[in-house]
């Protein structure tokens, strides 16, 4: 009986390690939140050294959570538009919360000190948080920067209402004729369904 137990144990370990190897060799990218999921709150350090959580925003109706960073040309191309979103929607209850998900060991430009520098240079009007230890972005399923999650605050928690790009032209804001995030927030403010819930975009891989 004891031998059987050991055998079963060994088989179990082999099965687990086979699974683990499989996981390593082909990482699944599409894990993370789907539309309608409850998004986790967090407690992350802001560039002013204060700790920020979504729960701190008592008056907010929701959030525009944007995974972004310093080093990525696509993120840089969207900086002014991210500031624009915050200016437009913070007063309406949907502030921008920017999170840098990158490990500064891989990308020194994305260090906490360099975040402070960049935020000051560009005059960020929103918190720019550091995902220290890279714990939060995998829960959201963010794969690249910039990667946006529009959340609606409800009695059940902060529900994911939109995932994807800011608009449909990373090069030129004035040529963008689909403003996905604006459209999503405007719909939520009117109590309507978000017209386009998921979009895809090229961005800088978060995983280094």
């Amino acid at each position: 009986m004891k031998t059987l137990k050991i055998l079963v144990g060994v088989a179990f370990i082999i099965a687990i390690s086979a699974f683990a190897i499989d996981k390593v060799s082909s990482p699944k990218i599409d894990d993370g939140y789907k539309i309608g999921d409850v998004a986790t709150d967090f407690k992350l350090k802001n560039i002013d050294d204060a700790m920020i959580s979504l729960a701190d925003y008592k008056e907010a109706k929701g959030f525009i959570v944007i995974f972004t960073c310093n080093h990525c040309p696509y993120s840089v191309a969207y900086e002014d538009r991210i500031i624009g979103l915050d200016k437009k929607f913070k007063s309406q209850g949907y502030p921008v919360i920017a999170i840098n998900p990158n490990n500064p060991k891989a990308y020194p430009d994305d260090s906490f000190d360099n975040m402070k520098v960049r935020a000051k240079e560009k005059g960020f009007t929103f918190p720019y948080l550091f995902d220290d230890g890279q714990m939060i972005y995998p829960q959201y399923g963010a794969t690249k920067t910039p990667h946006v999650y529009v959340l609606e605050k409800t009695a059940q928690g902060n529900l994911v209402r939109y995932i994807g790009a800011i608009d449909n032209n990373y090069k030129d804001a004035s040529s963008a004729n689909e403003k996905y995030v604006e459209d999503a927030v405007n719909a939520l403010l009117k109590g309507e369904k978000v017209p386009v819930e998921v979009t895809k975009a090229i961005g800088c891989s978060i995983k280094a």
Partner: protein
């Protein structure tokens, strides 16, 4: 100031090994400096490259100079390109660098690394419309790679080691 040549409507022909099929891609612009030429395409003009049926296996790698894991795996693609006969395997490196960085970043990189595989620039800002046309599973993060021959095509949103890449190539070859 690097020399920039613009050939609007430049047509590049490349024939299959048996000359059975010709695919013409129309570049919207060609960047040329330091002896390196990079044609630029929007998705519509790039698309035929994903569907050439001439018996050759093509490895199409989406990358950019700012993408660390992409740059890390480029030597493996280069090695495949040099080790396999030209009429059997073609490696195509599709850069997603911004056009304004081609002369300041992409071309110097290609020169410095002495990249021998074919490099082209895909510049189509409406990514949400074309990413799913490359592959419905693609989230848009890079590196991403397609290996195809005729109607058989595999897509990978991941990084490779040399052995992993060669293993996947042999599945199609």
């Amino acid at each position: 100031m690097p020399k920039r040549l613009i050939y609007i409507g430049l047509i590049i022909f490349f024939a299959g090994c048996k000359g059975e099929q010709k695919v013409a891609l129309e570049a919207s612009e060609v960047f040329a400096s330091k002896g390196v030429e990079i044609p630029m395409y929007d998705f519509e003009s790039f698309k035929p490259l994903l569907n050439i049926n001439d018996g050759k296996t093509r490895i199409i790698n989406f990358w950019a100079t700012w993408c660390k894991p992409c740059v890390a795996e480029l030597p493996y693609f280069e090695l495949i390109n040099s080790r396999y006969p030209k009429d059997e395997v073609e490696v195509i490196l599709v850069s997603l660098d911004l056009p304004k960085h081609v002369e300041s970043k992409l071309i110097p990189f290609i020169q410095r690394q002495n990249i021998q595989s074919r490099v082209l620039l895909l510049d189509d800002p409406d990514a949400n419309s074309w990413i799913p046309k490359v592959n419905s599973e693609w989230s848009g993060s890079i590196p991403a790679t397609i290996i195809y021959k005729g109607g058989t095509s595999n897509f990978y949103e991941r990084s490779f080691t040399y052995n992993e890449l060669e293993k996947e190539l042999k599945k199609i070859l």
